[in-house]
Symmetry: C2
DNA sequence: GCGCCCATGTAACTAGTTACATGATTCA
DNA sequence: TGAATCATGTAACTAGTTACATGGGCGC
């Protein structure tokens, strides 16, 4: 069973809304899915070529005045099928690795002040993340040009997922911090 | 700036409670930190050797009757220092990759029934995870031999972190599911 | 006799990141 | 003049997983 390269589907997903260059895809990712998915150029360009070899996308070079030429990729029917098939497959189990929890677990010999600081940093980080999510949600809700966007709801709920997660961490931090008072 | 290999610190952390073989370390990981950290043999054995070269651990071969010999590793003062230094460093920022959210985001063209199934699977998964965490917490609280364990509190709070997270996801699923009714 | 546990390790592969390379245009 | 944006790509490296190899003991 060949290992599934998820980057492929991220790219196909982005192309499913319309033709893009590798550069455009990166921009789209950074705008919409950055809080749960990231891609970098060094990954995008080779994978696009691979998708072309497989017949999932086609490419066309588009000349531009005073700018480097773009390689614009378009998803094919084969690519759409592959994407839809993948969407129906169950989500693969992931192994989480939390450096934060690892540090906390091994801090039993450290001064409590250090433990408090660790937890407090975690709280602050998630507080900031939460605010960013809320701002993005507000932006989507208030921006008239997005009111008819086909992925609007999907976008909002993924942001909400992140927000709920951040809230859970904040709550945990607030409840856990008092356990390490003193010293 | 050399990339920090976190496996090293996971191993040092495990060794900080007492000498272990690679095999023992894997067992300890599976028992205590499995919900947020995993290591496999193919990673543990080479890293232990590297730690030995660096002087962070020493090893001794321990013969056993009717069993393969064990390589028992012991943390050195140098190793302890490295661990403590790492514990004080801020947690590195991680890039999350959520296949679930990626699929959800790209499901805007899929039938709603499929979206509901995706979310429902997520809910069930986290419901199960939550129950496992609660059972483990109960086990720790009820097991008299663990009442004096130096890491007991730390263990309980890391489990709680996972539980809060699972609860947040469950809540999100319950609120999000109705948005995709019909069809 | 089968499968699991103990115990250590290597080889091959997949995935992902950082740094490097190039070069024009636009804006402050 | 310097930074940012547009645009594509390669090389080298780090990290992590799966599969393979070995072999005895123990319980059902």
């Amino acid at each position: 069973m060949a290992k599934i390269n998820k980057t492929k589907f991220a790219l196909l997903g982005m192309l499913s809304t319309g033709p893009c260059s590798g550069y455009d895809i990166k921009k789209k990712c950074d705008h919409s899915v950055a809080h749960f998915w990231n891609e970098n150029y060094a990954h995008i360009y080779p994978v696009l070529k691979e998708l072309e070899r497989e017949g999932a996308v086609t490419s066309e070079s588009e000349k531009q005045e005073g700018r480097p030429a773009k390689n614009v990729y378009t998803i094919t029917d084969l690519g759409r099928e592959a994407l839809e098939k993948w969407l129906m497959e169950p989500v693969e189990q992931v192994r989480v690795r939390s450096e934060f929890l690892l540090k906390l677990f091994f801090s039993s010999n450290a001064p409590k002040q250090q433990v408090r600081q660790l937890i407090e940093s975690e709280r602050i980080k998630h507080q900031q993340v939460k605010e960013v999510f809320e701002q993005q949600q507000q932006m989507i809700l208030n921006e008239p040009s997005l009111s008819q966007h086909p992925r609007r709801t999907y976008w909002l709920v993924t942001l909400n997922y992140g927000k709920y997660n951040a809230e859970a961490v904040i709550k945990w931090c607030e409840e856990t911090l008092p356990l390490f008072e003193g010293e």
